[in-house]
Point group: C2
Chain length 236, copies 2
């Protein structure tokens, strides 16, 4: 009987690989079905490595959650690129909405992971802190976009008003993202981007079409009603 051959990976690579395997397991089997043995099998290593790199299973899971939230918020923010001379605020906001309500962020895996961890907030302050930070970042980013759009349209844009708008739009995005990702089959999820854009226009008191209601993007064909981007594990 020979010993398993193995590769030595750089510290960060191995850690990342284990965290991603953890997320895959949680998405696939839930937190209760996520065992050290399964995680390490998914990552192609042996259980001992969890202790070596993270000290305990619990610590690994916490790190994996922080890793996930980092991905989600980063991707959401990047979808609307706010450079020095970037696109006008309206288009940034539009892209932000689109980025949150289309693949890959609109995914059953992601919402499943997200919900599972939300359920932990109550019992562990660490999860609460990570969530809180991610939410704050999301909200402040959205608030800035809203302010820009209001200014461009000559609408009142005092701080508290922008914040209220951001809270409402954020709620709208969250709710649509969840139900859309879960895809109960009560409506075609492809209608969500347009629906959110139109709703945001009304919430902000913008004229219809101010955010470019028609179609998914300036260029790119209208999406056929794809079922689910099926074999999408938990990529980078």
């Amino acid at each position: 009987m020979s010993r398993k051959t193995f590769q030595r990976l750089a510290l960060d690579e191995r850690r990342q690989s284990l965290m991603e395997a953890t997320l895959t397991c949680v998405a696939r089997h839930g937190l209760d079905g996520t065992t050290v043995r399964r995680i390490t099998e998914e990552a192609g290593v042996t259980p001992g490595l969890v202790r070596h790199y993270f000290g305990s299973k619990e610590e690994l899971i916490k790190n994996a959650y922080a890793y996930l939230i980092g991905q989600l918020t980063a991707r959401a923010s990047e979808s609307a690129d706010t450079g020095e001379d970037g696109p006008p605020a309206a288009q940034q906001l539009r892209q932000f909405l689109l980025g949150n309500l289309t693949s890959p962020n609109l995914s059953e895996d992601k919402v499943s992971l997200w919900a599972t961890f939300i359920g932990q907030i109550r019992h562990d302050p660490f999860f609460a802190e990570i969530h809180r930070e991610g939410y704050r970042e999301f909200l402040e980013f959205l608030e800035r976009l809203v302010e820009g759009v209001l200014i461009d349209h000559g609408l009142p844009h005092r701080g508290p008003q922008c914040r209220r708008h951001a809270i409402a739009i954020n709620g709208l995005i969250d709710g649509l993202w969840m139900e859309g990702s879960l895809n109960s089959g009560l409506y075609n999820r492809a209608i969500l981007p347009d629906l959110a854009i139109e709703a945001t226009e009304r919430l902000l008191g913008l004229p219809t079409g101010a955010l470019g209601t028609a179609g998914p993007a300036p260029h790119a064909p209208a999406p056929q009603l794809q079922e689910e981007n099926a074999p999408c594990a938990m990529p980078e």
Copy 2:
């Protein structure tokens, strides 16, 4: 050493007691921290009863989830009483929004439970079905309220339009409910009812105040900013 004395309970009482103990455990310790021993200790009985009444732990948890969703949707619908000669549609919609964004539905325990079970939808069709049914009921109820309000204001109220509005408002409610219940501390959750009412007015194109923006209810004093309805287990 004497044997524990016990009470014989009616079938439904015992089942309900076990389901409530299960929800308490899941809210407090998460699904992974919910064991048969803990559940039955919470209910004041011995582990054998789970097998006796539900066959297995898994079956008990599924029943508890269905029980929870039944409570949530029932309470949400009842908050806006739609009787034969009930209040006008606007006030019903207003009460519906209030009912979802104030205690007891706005609760960290409830959202924690809800999220935990959402995380199971992906791996078990039973959970998916329960969720789907609850969501459908919620959405259709909301759609009817929206239609009533639009009619009263002489606005267009074709079916597809009502549905789109209902989807958006439902998303708004869900999102605000979640973040409000989690109470990240980024804003006072007491602003949510007003915020939601104002946002709904804008979404539907109603004149400001059409849903009675000011104050929480026709009669009843404005709520002081209570922190959390603290020792609130998981009552009926």
